[in-house]
Symmetry: C2
């Protein structure tokens, strides 16, 4: 090779390196978990009930208000950096303070420590540094307690006991839009119909939606009342609709008039004071800018419609956080969020919304009550982390927040009774589900099951970050509790777990809850599984579930037992039933025996029910995990399986997102096609005849018509079978 | 009695009751401790060093951002109340929400619950309700976690596990000045001398002072630099003065120009950009509106001057909180505050400043390090509560904040070594005092002594609020630790406590610290006391103390041993020495062997030393407690003693504040006069001849020339003695 060529290559290589360096994009950074807590407070303070502010009843935590940021740089050449800060601050280079509040920094060549200290009470202390190499990102270190002055002898020392964490960042890559300015985007939308009813306008946006109302050409002065409705009945009910606005118009409106607080609605009933007029009414639709990566389509158009409405329902409830429902609470409920996490893995695969939700739910120490004050909701929080790691392989999240997992588990352990079990104590809400006459007395099998699962999460998380002692301790606790559960609640006659134990005695009652969780937790042996299936899940005498919330787990348990055909029928009846009632998004609760406006009431209020509830969207999860049959077997789909189950469908096709792209599947009664960008997959299926395989890593006959094929990353696999 | 008279009496009685009711003044109220934490953050973020923001290095906590307030009323007639709120809020009457954000409430006659929920991230959630009987005050209840939705069965219940505390209030009795608007008052003051030095003005305010600088008739545009100095040398040192301001004047000034951040100074050096002129410079003196209740005056004019300068020093450092010093830190340091508390009991007797300081220091849970990160400072915090209760009898403070005492003690106990003692671990600053070569290695006797005293505080506090189990536990811990201390550190040969134990062995070193605390803690027997006095306190070979901080305790120990004559000489030499150096307030440190500008340097900086430090004001305490000799023996002076000690003075007179007014004393070598508005006092004195007594509760001859007289509330006592 000529020297000339070598130099050219070197030049290209250097350009490439420069290119890599240039990729080092600055971002607003902050103390991990703090933006999430702050934004959670803000978002959860947007609930109103008939015009009254209605924040949560649990404790709000706060961000740390005084934060140290620093990073050590080694610069080949001196550079200038722009500086933006949220809060009152100082800047030091190598410990030497710069005068005042500089907005530019000069960093000399060589090794230098750049550090900032920021105080901000109202918003999260955050910084944005934009130089060439000196840029703010998650390689900076942060602490809320810099013990820089401390040592044993009176002089400065490095062994100060300060805990430094990696700074948190997200997508705040623009100096002009700091974390405190965070807002979801909006887009204008028009109604499908506007009806005049005397002095009022009834506006129909065609389907459930969310955002701000815009009044065009409002004239006159006085009160404009806006009554929101998920149904026309609600919008027209001046006295009983759940949400409303009253605008006190005191000046001529030169521009469009906008409401200031987002609301959920399909219909709005706009009522003007005498002498006032309005040209038209439209809206600004507010949405989270997340993209669908999963999909499902099949031979059954009703199922396709259910999937689409579930998707829309899920999008509406995926906002700054995964929330429960858009009309009423708009809060972050752990039990609801847990289901959204699972749906997310089959639709959006958006990790920031998962971790943001987990962090807002967890808040700060000290723990003074269960998550959302609900015992079961504490456990869903742990389980959410277990799943998050399995689906995404994000070890750093577990590493960074393990201390908060531990203090929450400490809280649980501090409240166990003499049997090591959890009963509802003063201050505990034992929820399980909205169901008539559900007993919360004594030791509930459902709560102990979730507790055991949470201890397992602690054990695997501790092991993951090499905290062996904790891994053993929690592992043993989980094992002991599982044995105690089976000993205490398993009733051989009933072939099921009973609901509870009171004063050391099994109660007679069998409910679906603990039995269905026992199935997909894998806590039963094969005989017990079959007993539970027959005597509980498929037994109409056991109290029925009326919320999509618990239907989620009930149908999941049946799917896990191979009852996809049965579940498909149930899905069509239940979710299809809501569609037949005119649903444009799925509801908080659905009781097929109710009629007309009866469907709208809940909590003793005529329009108390939410007609757009995240937990209504579970077909997203069921169809992806149990029909397409795709799921990770080890973290981040390093190994995974696909077990397609048509459950009566003629064909289906869909995508499931993974860290490396989507796994694609087509499956009919005669053909299966799989395409994967990730890990090592295993396709399992049944065939009456010997299948013909193209691609894939070899066919394995497992006997009894069961076959397995290894799916190799990047290599399409086509199977003809019968 | 005629019916007419009876009716008249009844009428008068009703008027009186109405008068009592009318006294029910509304006040802004908040969650206990929250205003204090919030204000502490704000105040401690006002430190600058050469124009750079310099907040503390310890953790800042925050107020609870979401608070429930409520009170049950029983009204004879319906009433209207005005409502003012800091934050976003709702109001409910009997659980029924009112629309929007009302500023007036209508409460019907009868029994009604008025409740508010307030969210505020930037400032403390607070309310002000002004009706006739419906007024906000500390009879309202508050919580940060209202579990109103919770019970075991799914329906609302009162057994929710919510912890309700009594609301906090202070002197915010005006709707227009909410807690967030809190600011100390100011008053204009003029300099005593203004000197032109070329383009600059050197302005002398005659003595140490604090506030804003005011430029009159400033003309031209450009930079005005203001260099502050506690000494002329500092003000004239452009490069090394500790504080400065640079005003960037871009517009013509129509009014006086004011600095925005208070500073400490006696001198200011004002430098104007070319073309700029100023007519004159004055200041706004900022002060805490607290009144002197104690006093001391005597036959020695130097002591009188010391007392006056100490008083001024103490006033300057008594601000929103008791701070360390006005020039540099302006932070709330527990060790410094502890001394201020004690001085306060002999001068201001201002409880709000004590409790506010204690609460700001304590912050919130979880405890992540020692108070101000300093081990000894944690203990002073406990000791401060012990004293506070003794001097004021404020049981409710202990009751309300006992949980925070306990969690702080839990933190200490979680860090003890196998001997139950505390050594400096990573993250602990072991301070004791600024002193050359002071070892912080191993188990220090000083720290264990303070730890034992803190455990005693826990025991007495627990007993006080009827927490018998804790009282016993902490009491036993304290007893055990005290035995261990004597066994480990008492050296019979040296007749003193040694400084430390390293690897289980006594070190050879004897320092003053633990020995002097042992004296006034009463941990020594009579022989040990005399040993310590001779071998440590009066032994020039033991390292001398150079800070007024530890001089405080050294002189207290000597006073406790009856060495008032010696201490008076020391006081005149040490504090008198500072006065001779021209001090107008007392310093952070004073070493008589230094000369001129040497006195100004500390921490390796030429003007690093504070010339106005709270701990310099200790004569206030020593003269009140050990010369006037007045102190409570049981809480709130229910019993107390007065043991006047002239210590060489010809006469002295003074007042000591109590909850019921001031105890007044005059004492000469021949006469003692005591006047008391409180409790049962005991006057103890010596006389060569039988004293003549007028007033008082009888003379007791205790033998050896010792006499006792009981001092009866409201009854002057005059003793002629010899």
């Amino acid at each position: 090779m000529k020297t000339y060529n070598k130099l050219l290559l070197l030049f290209i290589f250097l350009l490439f390196c420069e290119g890599l360096q240039a990729q080092s994009k600055p971002s607003w950074i902050w103390y991990p978990g703090d933006f999430e807590v702050w934004l959670g407070n803000k978002m959860q303070s947007r609930r109103t009930e008939r015009g009254t502010f209605l924040p949560p009843f649990w404790k709000f935590d706060s961000h740390y208000v005084l934060i140290d940021f620093h990073k050590d740089f080694d610069l080949q050449e001196a550079e200038e950096a722009e500086l933006y800060v949220e809060g009152q601050y100082n800047v030091k280079i190598d410990g030497k303070a710069i005068f005042g509040y500089p907005n530019r920094l000069s960093i000399p060549a060589g090794k230098h420590k750049v550090s900032l200290k920021v105080f901000s009470q109202d918003k999260v202390p955050a910084i944005f540094v934009k130089g060439k190499k000196v840029v703010s990102d998650s390689t900076w270190l942060v602490t809320y307690e810099d013990k820089e002055w401390i040592d044993q002898s009176g002089k400065a020392s490095d062994q100060s006991g300060t805990t430094w964490l990696k700074a948190a960042q997200w997508n705040f890559d623009n100096a002009a839009t700091p974390p405190s300015a965070y807002a979801l985007p909006t887009v204008p939308q028009s109604p499908v119909k506007t009806e005049k009813l005397g002095k009022s306008l009834l506006v129909d946006f065609g389907r459930e939606t969310f955002g701000f109302i815009r009044l065009h050409g409002l004239k006159g002065r006085g009160e404009v009342a806006i009554y929101y409705g998920e149904s026309p009945e609600e919008a027209l009910s001046i006295d009983h609709g759940e949400t409303l606005d009253r605008l006190d118009v005191q000046f001529d409106q030169k521009k469009d008039t906008l409401t200031t607080l987002t609301k959920a609605f399909r219909y709005v009933n706009v009522q003007l004071a005498p002498g006032m007029t309005v040209d038209s009414v439209s809206m600004l639709y507010e949405y989270a800018p997340v993209k669908d990566r999963g999909s499902f389509h099949c031979s059954d158009e009703e199922i396709n419609k259910i999937y689409d409405v579930a998707k829309y329902t899920f999008h509406l409830n995926t906002r700054e956080f995964f929330i429960d429902g858009i009309k009423r609470d708009r809060w972050i409920w752990s039990g609801d969020a847990y289901q959204s996490f699972l749906m997310n893995y089959y639709l959006l695969y958006d990790s920031p919304t998962v971790t943001r939700t987990l962090l807002a739910l967890r808040g700060k120490d000290p723990v003074t009550s269960h998550t959302n004050t609900i015992m079961d909701y504490t456990f869903y929080w742990f389980m959410g982390i277990q799943d998050y790691y399995l689906y995404t392989g994000d070890r750093s999240f577990v590493e960074q927040f393990y201390p908060r997992m531990k203090t929450l588990m400490d809280y649980c352990l501090s409240r166990t009774n003499k049997n090591g079990m959890l009963e509802g104590l003063a201050g505990d809400w034992v929820f399980i589900d909205w169901a008539e006459g559900l007993s919360k007395q004594g030791e509930l099998s459902f709560e102990q099951l979730l507790f055991a699962r949470s201890l397992e999460t602690m054990a695997t998380s501790a092991a993951l970050i090499n905290h062996q002692e904790d891994a053993v301790t929690y592992g043993e606790m989980a094992k002991k509790l599982k044995s105690a559960i089976m000993a205490k609640y398993w009733n051989k006659e009933k072939q099921a777990l009973v609901h509870s134990s009171i004063d050391g005695k099994q109660t007679d009652n069998v409910t679906r809850y603990s039995n269905m969780f026992g199935i997909f937790f894998g806590y039963f042996n094969a005989d017990q599984q079959q007993g539970v299936k027959k005597n509980v899940l498929l037994n109409d005498k056991v109290q029925k579930i009326t919320t999509p919330y618990m239907r989620f787990y009930e149908l999941e348990a049946l799917c896990a037992l191979g009852e996809q055909s049965y579940v498909l029928k149930e899905m069509k009846a239940y979710w299809g039933g809501m569609l037949k009632e005119g649903a444009t998004s799925f509801w908080e609760e659905y009781d097929p025996s109710k009629k007309g406006a009866e469907h709208l009431s809940m909590y003793g209020r005529p329009f108390g029910k939410s007609l757009c509830h995240a937990w209504g969207a579970s077909p997203l999860y069921l169809l992806g995990k149990y029909y397409l049959g795709i799921k990770p077997l080890s973290p981040a789909y390093e190994t995974w399986e696909v077990v397609p189950e048509l459950g009566g469908l003629k064909w289906m096709e869909g995508k499931v997102p993974t860290p490396a792209g989507e796994i694609e599947l087509y499956c009919s009664t005669k053909e299966i096609r799989v395409k994967s960008p990730v890990g090592k997959g295993t396709l399992r299926f049944k065939s009456k005849s010997l299948p013909k395989v193209k691609g894939g890593g070899g066919l394995l006959n497992k006997g009894n018509g069961n076959y397995e094929i290894t799916i190799i990353k990047g290599k399409d696999c086509v199977v003809k079978y019968n």
